[in-house]
């Protein structure tokens, strides 16, 4: 015999609203739980997203090309030539938003009072800005004007350490490929700030052409940094560049910054755990509600069995009733979550607690990120686990013996 779907569904719907108050309370509980699942996930995603994006700006780019040995020993000996025809084809393709070739070597910077070890970046300011350098981070002076600019831009902290300031001269010293000392005087044309204090202390920007001349490397660079469209999927870009740049090391940020990529992966697991934990809290209420509903209806269930409903039809009725409750709660919860997340798109000011978060690389604004897969996951968790937890009460209901159930008062 086919399952009497229509008859059972109507009963389920009517029964759902029989104890109006209890149903509404349970609905609100489910909605709140779903809201917490989606909203908190969006916040966590926002936080990790922020860290990843900051990390990518610091790298910079989604994919980088280096000489094979550069990452072990980032000296100028391990450099690469300006990109050739095959690579340019990929770099100028539509999957690339911006790219820039840069020099990045260890160096020493000296003011008249102090000296410190730094990372000297020979950059093309236009490319650097396209890769994500924020001009608002310049707190004094200005950024370099072009690759031939003879000035340097140093971090706020470094200026403090060197006891120097905007307009003063500093000497930068490194080695050329023949291990000969190469040095040059620069005027400080700009001071930048960064979320990470460490960057302010160790990064020094200079014009790429100027650094190339100083290090006597012609057109060679240390790395080519490439920005794609979606940081979540840098693999294709990395693969294409890898094909075009045989003999060089092409890595995506996932490999370049394993800390960040691990964090992103761990987040996925964490989101699922978070959702399941919330559901577990809900499930007590759900089972309790269903058990109470069934207990109130023992005689009716006996009657239905006596009239010829199979036990499976009873299970079906209870499950449909539970599903209706879950679906309504989900609907409410989703609407609630989306309508509270969207107005917060412009960011939540968390500067009060940002002090501690800077350590992890997060900024003082938190932007919740609503990802549809997360919403889908929350819904799936509630439906799947909800049905599973309803199975026990439903099965119990179906096992009442008709006479005994009918005789119950």
């Amino acid at each position: 015999m086919a399952m009497p779907v229509a008859a059972m569904s109507r009963l389920a719907w009517r029964n759902l609203w029989r104890n109006y108050r209890r149903t509404v309370i349970m609905l609100l509980a489910i909605a709140l739980g779903v809201w917490a699942m989606i909203f908190m996930t969006a916040l966590m995603r926002g936080m990790v997203d922020d860290m990843v994006q900051q990390g990518i700006v610091a790298l910079p780019g989604h994919v980088q090309v280096h000489a094979e040995a550069y990452r072990d020993d980032p000296s100028i000996t391990h450099s690469l030539p300006a990109p050739g025809k095959a690579m340019l084809e990929v770099l100028e393709s539509r999957q690339v938003i911006a790219w820039s070739s840069r020099i990045k070597v260890p160096a020493m910077i000296s003011s008249e009072y102090e000296n410190r070890g730094i990372s000297l970046l020979g950059i093309d300011p236009e490319g650097e800005l396209a890769l994500g350098f924020d001009p608002d981070d310049i707190v004094a002076g200005q950024f370099l004007t072009d690759a031939g600019d003879g000035g340097v831009v140093i971090g706020r902290k470094l200026a403090e350490r060197l006891e120097t300031r905007l307009g003063k001269r500093v000497v930068v010293m490194s080695q050329d490929p023949g291990n000969t000392i190469a040095d040059r005087g620069f005027r400080i044309v700009g001071i930048f700030k960064a979320e990470l204090e460490n960057r302010e202390e160790t990064i020094v920007y200079a014009g790429r052409d100027v650094v190339q001349a100083m290090l006597r490397v012609g057109n060679d660079v240390s790395e080519i940094a490439v920005l794609g469209h979606d940081y979540r999927t840098p693999e294709k870009l990395a693969a294409d560049l890898g094909d075009a740049a045989a003999g060089f090391e092409v890595l995506s940020w996932l490999e370049l910054d394993p800390y960040l990529s691990t964090m992103m992966k761990v987040m996925d697991g964490f989101v699922l755990v978070w959702m399941v934990v919330i559901f577990l809290a809900l499930s007590f209420g759900l089972v309790n509600t269903l058990m109470m509903a069934i207990f109130e209806r023992v005689r009716e269930i006996g009657l239905m069995r006596a009239l010829g409903m199979r036990p499976s039809a009873i299970v079906y009725e209870i499950l449909v009733e539970s599903l209706m409750l879950l679906a309504l709660g989900l609907l409410l919860g989703n609407v609630l979550a989306v309508s509270t997340i969207i107005p917060l798109k412009s960011g939540i000011d968390v500067s009060v607690v940002a002090e501690g978060m800077e350590m992890m690389g997060a900024s003082s604004m938190l932007y919740p990120v609503l990802q549809w897969p997360d919403v889908l996951l929350a819904n799936a968790v509630v439906i799947v686990l909800g049905i599973l937890t309803s199975l026990l009460p439903a099965w119990r209901a179906s096992q009442y013996r008709p006479v005994e159930a009918l005789a119950r008062n």
């Binding site: 009657l303 199979r310 036990p311």
Partner: protein, 227 residues
């Protein structure tokens, strides 16, 4: 061949030290198309017998065959199907699903049987009119009197013309005029469609309609007389 054959039915209830005999070696043969009333004092086993025949309750021993099929050997799902398609029940006390209206209650069994909506409506309206509930189709059970509820239950039991109707005190809450009308209706179904009726009752006036009267006492059949 008889429609229903009960052989040596026993159903005992342990109540402390005492054993209550619900059914005590009851054997019966019921012809197809019979119109039978079962009578006896309260606690004599009438309900227990009807429930056993309808497969609602298990037996301690004995056999029940309906049209040659051993009902006592069927599984839960098969018993449910048998009740759904072949048996109309009227219970002594709790009869209606409270969240469904009178008409929906009557239609419920038909709906589960898979009868189409238009046909269901036609049948249920007709039967409700016949049992004198015209105009009350949309009321919920709580909005009906005991007698009206009982008539809805009767309507549901006979609406799809089952082979067998097991009615436990179907007239308990009815005035004598309604009772006579109902019995006449039963009789008509019985004669026109050969529906077998098994009616448990205390009421002498109901007994008067029967072809065959079975008297029970302490779980045993004490008298069994044809009219």
């Amino acid at each position: 061949m008889s429609a229903i054959v009960c052989t040596d039915l026993c159903k005992f209830y342990q109540q402390g030290d005492a054993v209550i005999k619900g059914l005590d070696h009851v054997s019966l043969e019921i012809e197809e198309g019979s119109f039978i009333c079962i009578s006896g004092p309260s606690g004599s086993g009438k309900t227990t017998l009807l429930n056993a025949i309808g497969g609602l309750d298990s037996l301690d021993s004995g056999q029940i065959a309906i049209n040659g099929e051993r009902v006592d050997l069927l599984g839960k799902a098969e018993l449910a199907d048998l009740r759904l398609h072949s048996i109309g029940f009227v219970f002594q006390a709790y009869n209606l699903i409270p969240v469904l209206s009178a008409r929906e209650n009557v239609e419920f069994v038909m709906q589960v049987q898979g009868v189409r909506a238009a046909e269901r409506k036609l049948q249920s309206m007709k039967i409700l009119q016949e049992v004198g509930l015209e105009g009350m189709e949309d009321r919920r059970p709580a909005q009906l009197s005991g007698g009206q509820q009982q008539r809805v239950a009767v309507a549901r039991a006979i609406v799809s013309q089952p082979k067998l109707v097991l009615a436990d005190e179907p007239t308990a809450n009815l005035d004598s005029q309604s009772m006579e009308k109902l019995m006449a209706h039963f009789r008509e179904l019985n004669e026109a469609h050969k529906v077998t009726f098994l009616i448990a009752t205390h009421d002498q006036r109901v007994m008067a309609w029967a072809d065959r009267r079975i008297y029970m006492e302490d779980g045993r059949v004490t008298r069994d007389e044809l009219q």
